[in-house]
Symmetry: C2
Subunit: 243 residues, 2 copies
């Protein structure tokens, strides 16, 4: 039986989602250890998105194959074993050919900025503090140029190897509420660090270090050096995976 | 020279503000160790409010006496030594008879609730998750009965010993924005756990476990058992101390 689980986690204290040989503090390993305690078996889980160290998830999805517990009971069973910074939200049986990553039709990411002079203390793991004044209108105009299908090589972490760097962005919304700026990006898929490089580039355009009219040129360059900095992991949230 | 410092901290990983013999992870000790590193001297600091383990502060105030650094430089000097979950916001010279606690004319506390069925993961250290439906209007009506000067014995942690349990509450505002409920309490001073017991009582009245019309009776009882539960420390923030 194939089981699909939606999971929320605070990435602050993990070295990212994916299992690593030289770290046992990834989210995947933590969940797999709990599944082992529950079932007595070594189970591999497959996540929809490989979030980096410090990145959070509100709606990460993973699947695995196992019959020992009814599918809809895995969420509460897992929560009895998981640390408090990882919670299974729901679990259900799916078709045997369901794949959390390959079947994803869309993903929603959120990038959260606190635009203030004062250092952030309570939010230090949950946002990027930007002290320069940001022009939201310029950021919105630049973001509009990212919409649609493009080769996003300029927004891909260096030393990434992918079959194709073409992705489609369905929408980007930028909302400001007092000092908080939320960038919601929705697309069919994202390259390594893509949302963080988009956020870093938009911030540089918002405070004038880069010209906000240059976004199309940056895309056309297909060169990581043309885009802005990679925004910190702490501000990024995987919100939802659509199937 | 007497120095007044405003400090913000994430209380999640501290056993409260006050120095303790059997714990070295209090906020006071952490700051005192940094002052010792900066000045080479053993300096005692005096805080305005003794926040409990897990309680946060946005505007805690403390003072100390020391001349080795200009008063307005202590904030940045401290921040070079402090862990990231404690930040000095400002420092200034004050009159030699200033006292952070005894001179406080008013204090503002915030209590933060997330009223949702879904477990809280990213906010687990920063709010109280209440899953029962809450009637905000009933909570507001009950809160109005707390205004003014009263003997708040019913809202004082058991085994507290104080000169007087009379305090004055200047205002209580309850705001709801989606699933977030913010209770802002402003008064001339607060007894041990008073804001948390107020929050716990208001929540019990909000979901009907207690009658919202009983607040005056609870005050009159002067009995801790008449009030509601003590809300968790994670939702409480010391926002500001007024002089």
């Amino acid at each position: 039986m194939r089981v699909k689980v939606i999971v929320e986690y605070d990435g602050s204290h993990y070295s990212g989602w994916q299992r690593q040989i030289n770290s046992d503090t990834t989210v995947q390993q933590t969940i797999e250890r709990c599944l082992c305690k529950l079932t007595g078996k070594s189970i591999t889980i497959h996540g929809a998105g490989r979030t980096d160290a410090g990145v959070h998830a509100v709606g990460q999805v993973f699947h695995f194959d196992e019959d020992s517990i009814p599918a809809d009971k895995y969420a509460s069973a897992l929560n009895s074993k998981l640390p408090h910074d990882i919670r299974a939200i729901s679990s259900e049986a799916v078709f045997d050919d369901f794949h959390s990553r390959f079947d994803a039709k869309g993903k929603k990411y959120r990038y959260r900025i606190l635009n203030q002079k004062r250092p952030i203390v309570l939010q230090r793991n949950y946002a990027w503090r930007v002290y320069q004044d940001l022009d939201i209108d310029k950021m919105r105009m630049a973001a509009a140029d990212l919409l649609g299908e493009h080769d996003f090589s300029s927004f891909m972490a260096a030393r990434s190897f992918v079959h194709t760097s073409v992705r489609e962005i369905y929408s980007i919304d930028i909302e400001k509420n007092r000092e908080e700026i939320i960038i919601d990006v929705y697309g069919n898929g994202f390259l390594r660090s893509m949302v963080r490089i988009i956020a870093g580039t938009l911030v540089e355009m918002g405070h004038g270090q880069k010209d906000y009219r240059d976004m199309k040129k940056i895309i056309a360059d297909k060169n990581r050096l043309s885009a802005g900095i990679t925004a910190p992991a702490s501000g990024l949230y995987l919100m939802e995976v659509e199937y």
